[in-house]
C-alpha cells in the first residue's frame, strides 16, 4: 500500500526515503496483517489447544497493542513530513525531531508490553486455560463440529454441507455421509463445481518409499553440483524408489 502511494510522483518527491515511508508501511502491515493474525490466534487457540485464552488479559492486550501501535507509528508519519530520513540512527539536536522520537520510543514500549502479555497468556493458557469444548464461540463453520483439539482424522464421518453456516442450520446436529468402508482408507472424490460425490478414492497406507525417493533425489541433486554425470547415475536409484512407491502392495487400497 505504501508502494502504491509513493507511486504518485508529487507524494514520492515529498516523502521518498523519509520516516514517513517507514511509518506508513508499518501502519498498513501491523493494522492489516498482524492484528488479524492475533485475532485468529484468539479465535482458533481453543480449537488447537482445547483451552481458551483469558478474556480479561485479552482485553488488556487489545488495548495496549491498539494504543501502543497508533502512538508509535502515527507520529512517525509526522517526523517523515518534517524531513527526517529513514535508516538513520542519529541526528543533530537542532533538527528538532528529538521530542517526537522520544514519544515514539515510549509508545513502542507500550506496544511491546502488549505483545509480551499476549505471549505470556498464550503459553499460560495452553496448559492452564479454561477448557474450551467443541465450540466455545457458537461459531457456524465445520472445524467447530469436531473435538478440540481435533483427532488426526478430523471427522469420523464426512460432514455433508449445504450452506455457508452448517452448524447454524441444525442445532446440535450435523449431517454426515455414511457408507465408506472401514477396512480400506477411503476419501470422497466430488465434482469440481457442485461437489457431487463421484467416487470412493483410496488413500494410501503408510510407506517408507517416499522417504527413500526424497533421499535418492537429494543425493542426486547435491552430487550434480560436482559432476553432471550424477544426474545420469543418480536417476537410477530415484527411478527404483519411485517404482517401488508406485507398485501395488496388494492392500485393500489397491483393489480398484
Amino acid at each position: 500500500m505504501t508502494g502504491v502511494m509513493v507511486a504518485s510522483v508529487p507524494i514520492d518527491t515529498q516523502v521518498h526515503d523519509t520516516y514517513f515511508v517507514v511509518a506508513h508501511f508499518h501502519y498498513v502491515l501491523i493494522g492489516g496483517a498482524v492484528f488479524p493474525l492475533m485475532g485468529a490466534m484468539y479465535y482458533w487457540f481453543p480449537k488447537f489447544t482445547g483451552r481458551v485464552m483469558s478474556e480479561r488479559l485479552g482485553r488488556v492486550v487489545a488495548g495496549l497493542v491498539f494504543v501502543g501501535f497508533n502512538l508509535t507509528f502515527f507520529p512517525m508519519h509526522l517526523l517523515g513530513l518534517h524531513g527526517m530520513p529513514r535508516r538513520i540512527y542519529a541526528y543533530t539536536a537542532d533538527m528538532g525531531w528529538g521530542p517526537l522520537n522520544l514519544f515514539v520510543s515510549g509508545s513502542a514500549v507500550v506496544l511491546a508490553a502488549g505483545f509480551l502479555l499476549f505471549f505470556i497468556d498464550a503459553i499460560r493458557s495452553a496448559h492452564a486455560g479454561k477448557p474450551a469444548g467443541d465450540n466455545p464461540w457458537g461459531a457456524p463453520t465445520l472445524e467447530w463440529a469436531t473435538a478440540s483439539p481435533p483427532p488426526a482424522y478430523n471427522f469420523a464421518q464426512i460432514p455433508v454441507v449445504t450452506g455457508p453456516d452448517p452448524l447454524w442450520q441444525h442445532q446440535d446436529e450435523i449431517a454426515v455421509a455414511c457408507g465408506l468402508r472401514l477396512d480400506r482408507r477411503e476419501i470422497l472424490i466430488t465434482s469440481v463445481a457442485s461437489a457431487r460425490p463421484q467416487a470412493r478414492e483410496s488413500s494410501p497406507g503408510n510407506t517408507i518409499w517416499p522417504l527413500w525417493t526424497a533421499i535418492a533425489t537429494s543425493i542426486m541433486l547435491i552430487a550434480s553440483i560436482f559432476t553432471p554425470w550424477a544426474v545420469v547415475w543418480g536417476m537410477i536409484p530415484v527411478a527404483i524408489a519411485l517404482t517401488f512407491w508406485f507398485w501395488p502392495k496388494g492392500t485393500p487400497e489397491d483393489e480398484a
Binding site: 449431517a175 454426515v176 455421509a177 455414511c178 467416487a199
Partner: protein, 200 residues
C-alpha cells in the same frame, strides 16, 4: 454434536476415471508446469535471437534430417497411443497388453534419433548463448521422452502381472497415454523453432 446420516456413498465406484481421478488432475497439473517450462525456454530462445547480430550464433542451422525423422516418428506413434488410450478406457486388458510393447518401442526410437540430433546441432552447450538455449530446449524435451518411457516400461510390466486387471491401473495407462500426447504436441513448436526459424 450428534450426527445424522443423510448420504450413503457405499454404491459409489472404488475408482473414477478422467476428472474423477486424482491422478488425472496430477497429470494435468504436471502438463501445466512442464508446458510453462517449455514456454519459458522458447521465450528465451526468441529473446536471444532478437538480441543476436546473427542467428544461429557462429554455427550452421542444425541438420534437418534427424529432427524431421523424430517429428514424423512422434506423429506416427499417435496412432497406437490413441488406440491404447481407448483400449484402457474400455478396460480391454488384452489389447492394452498388445499395445504396451508397441508404445515402449515408440518411446525408445526417438531417444536413439535424438542422440544423432544432438550430434548434428553443430554447436556445444558451452560455445555461446545459442548453443546453451538449443541444448536446454532439446535436453528438456529429451528428459520428457526418457521419463515417459520409464513410465511406459513400468506400466507395461505391470499389465502382465496380476495387478494389470484393475480399473485404477488401466486409468494410469490412460494418463500415461495422455502424457505422451503432451510430449508429442510440445515437440511440434520446438521442431519449428529449432529447425526452421534459423532458416528464415
Amino acid at each position: 454434536v450428534r450426527t445424522r446420516p443423510i448420504l450413503d456413498v457405499s454404491d459409489l465406484p472404488l475408482h473414477g476415471g478422467g476428472s474423477q481421478s486424482v491422478t488425472w488432475w496430477g497429470t494435468l497439473g504436471f502438463m501445466l508446469i512442464e508446458g510453462t517450462g517449455f514456454a519459458l525456454v522458447i521465450a528465451m530462445y526468441l529473446y536471444l535471437r532478437a538480441l543476436a547480430p546473427e542467428w544461429p550464433l557462429s554455427a550452421p542451422p542444425p541438420s534437418l534430417m534427424w529432427g524431421t525423422l523424430i517429428t514424423a516418428w512422434l506423429l506416427l506413434t499417435e496412432v497406437p497411443n490413441i488406440l491404447i488410450y481407448r483400449a484402457a478406457g474400455e478396460q480391454k486388458l488384452g489389447r492394452v497388453r498388445l499395445l504396451m510393447p508397441v508404445m515402449t518401442v515408440a518411446g525408445i526410437v526417438p531417444l536413439v534419433l535424438r542422440w544423432y540430433e544432438f550430434k548434428t546441432l553443430w554447436v556445444m552447450w558451452d560455445s555461446n548463448a545459442y548453443g546453451s538455449v538449443v541444448w536446454l530446449l532439446l535436453g528438456l524435451h529429451a528428459t520428457h521422452l526418457v521419463t515417459d518411457l520409464g513410465d511406459t516400461v513400468v506400466l507395461g510390466v505391470m499389465m502382465f502381472t496380476r495387478h494389470g486387471r484393475n480399473k485404477r491401473r488401466l486409468g494410469d495407462v490412460q494418463d500415461n497415454a495422455l502424457y505422451w500426447h503432451f510430449v508429442v504436441l510440445t515437440w511440434l513448436p520446438i521442431y519449428v523453432l529449432l529447425y526452421w526459424v534459423p532458416r528464415l
